[in-house]
Amino acid sequence: MKKKVMFIGAGLTIGSALLVTSAFANMGGADGYEAYKSAIKQTASVASATHGITLSVQDNGNELISATTTVKSSETDGGVSGQAVIRAGAEPQTFDFYDQAGEQVFKAGGSDTYYVGSNADWSDRRDHAPKDAAFGKEMENVVDALVGNLKNQVALSRSSDGGQTVDLKLTGSQIPAAANIIGSILAKQAMNAHPEQAGQGTPGSNPFGLDVRQIAAALPKLTDDIKIAEVALHAEIDGSNYLSSQKVDFTITGKDASGLAHKVVVGADMALSNIDATTPDRIDLSGKKTEAMKEWHRGR
């Protein structure tokens, strides 16, 4: 009898001790995921900032395409300005854009024409976008449910200067099968897009001087065994809870028509600087060669 009581006592004590340990380690709260989410919200609320975005595509270690964009945006005066440099093949293509006082201005590096659109719809839509807190909360719940158990995979580490680092790495079977199948099909479609579809007409007729054909041609044409091999996210959160930099990499493997194996890494690197201290550049169009952009849209 005594042995029995001792056993039950020991079982309940040890078991509950283990449960309490896990409760103190905040098992239920996916703290990496929560930290990342809170930093995204905080970062979305900044009034002005400079975003440096680099998109790159590598194939078996060789860089095929890289696009570096610097965007200055400010909500206080409603302006956006930016430069983009796209390298695909030999010649880099540059590209400037401005959003100032309700008009959008685009200019390609190779031409001296400024394309101006007075697309008031855009600005209106952005200004009157519903900032409904309840709706935002609902969306957050939906995203949480979709992320599901993956949120446990987000690792968090704290650095000595008050910043945090968030890491997520999913390989092979850790990527949900449905997401992998859909992603693989999309990747195949994107890489095998016909240049005639992607590039509109001859390169010269492209209004922005952006040669889409050159970009499409640089991609390897994967036809078999395509899969998303790895998804990795690395984010740095600074002491004021802003996402100071984040990097997302998708690794896609597959074979082309000749049976050659490819490992394509599509990466996005985003950095945030000059928070609440950025003034977008403005362009004075007086005396410059301009062309209305709406006509181009209609002409198509």
């Binding site: 029995k4 056993f7 039950i8 079982g11 309940l12 040890i14 078991g15 509950s16 001790a17 283990l18 449960l19 340990t21 896990s22 380690a25 098992m27 239920g28 709260g29 996916a30 949480d144 449910a145 599901g148 158990n149 949120k151 446990n152 995979q153 987000v154 690792a155 580490s157 890491d167 997520l168 790495k169 999913l170 390989t171 092979g172 079977s173 850790q174 099968a177 992998n180 199948i181 992603g183 693989s184 099909i185 195949k188 994967l222 036809t223 078999d224 065994d225 395509i226 899969k227 998303i228 091999a229 493997t253 597959g254």
Partner: protein, 250 residues
């Protein structure tokens, strides 16, 4: 100790001689091959290899650990506890000069070893099946990883096993216990979609905790936390199950 061992063998023999146990084990062995044509057809048609050979055992494990093995656990627990109390066959077991403590744990060990056998069988057969799929990268590493994944899945299944035994102690008929076990399990799984923050406190949320073990960014601290939670659950639930078994009138 000898009494515990022979009681376990006794319980194991009873389990093994049930046709449905054999059916379930056969299903586990065949499942990877049944899924193979569908995966091959889907992927061959699109030229994609979303589920490569190296990932196939883990994909099958996710299916086994969330549906097939819990069902096997509920069935065994319902038969071994509610069923034997219901049809009074437990009397012949209790009449032996073996303490209730040993009989209870012999049953628990027998039920758990059935689950372990299911996991082992699932791993062997999905590893064989994976040879028929295109391989993205090193197969030996993938096989070692999937073996680890199968081994660590035994822990959440043990917690589920202990929980099923506790539920089964409240029922006099195997069918009632089975139905309630399935309902509770389905509700717990559903809670994971509706209120994930609360579902994280149920052992059912960790059926796929093997994902933490293989090549992810999860820290050792996280693994230790979930490990101590699952072990704690298993110990507390089996102790509670024993209390109920000890007090149960025949």
């Amino acid at each position: 100790m000898n009494l515990l061992l022979s009681s376990t063998i006794n319980e194991w023999t009873k389990l093994r001689s049930r046709k449905k146990t054999v059916f379930f084990l056969a299903l586990i062995a065949l499942l990877p091959f049944l899924g193979l044509p569908a995966v091959m057809k889907l992927q061959g048609g699109f030229g994609i290899a979303a589920i490569a050979g190296s990932d196939y055992p883990i994909t099958v494990l996710n299916l086994l650990a969330s549906f097939v093995l819990p069902l096997l656990i509920f069935m065994s627990a319902a038969d071994m506890f509610s069923g034997e109390f219901g049809d009074k066959t437990i009397r012949s077991v209790l009449a032996r000069p073996v303490s209730r403590f040993k009989i209870f744990f012999a049953k628990l060990i027998a039920a758990f070893s059935l689950v372990a056998a299911g996991l082992l069988l699932g791993w062997i057969s999905s590893a064989i099946a994976s040879f028929f799929l295109p391989h993205a990268d090193g197969l030996p590493r993938a096989l070692a990883e999937s073996a680890l994944a199968h081994a660590v899945t035994a822990l959440p299944l043990f917690a589920i096993c202990a929980a099923a035994v506790v539920v089964a102690m409240f029922f006099k008929h195997a069918s009632g216990a089975l139905a309630i076990c399935i309902l509770v399990y389905a509700a717990a799984k559903l809670l994971g979609f509706v209120l994930p923050q609360y579902a994280a406190w149920l052992p059912t949320a960790y059926m796929d905790w093997h994902e933490l073990w293989i090549g992810s960014a999860a820290t050792a601290g996280r693994i230790a936390t979930v490990f101590s939670y699952l072990l704690g659950c298993g110990i507390v639930l089996s102790t509670l199950g024993y209390c109920a078994f000890d007090k149960k009138e025949v």
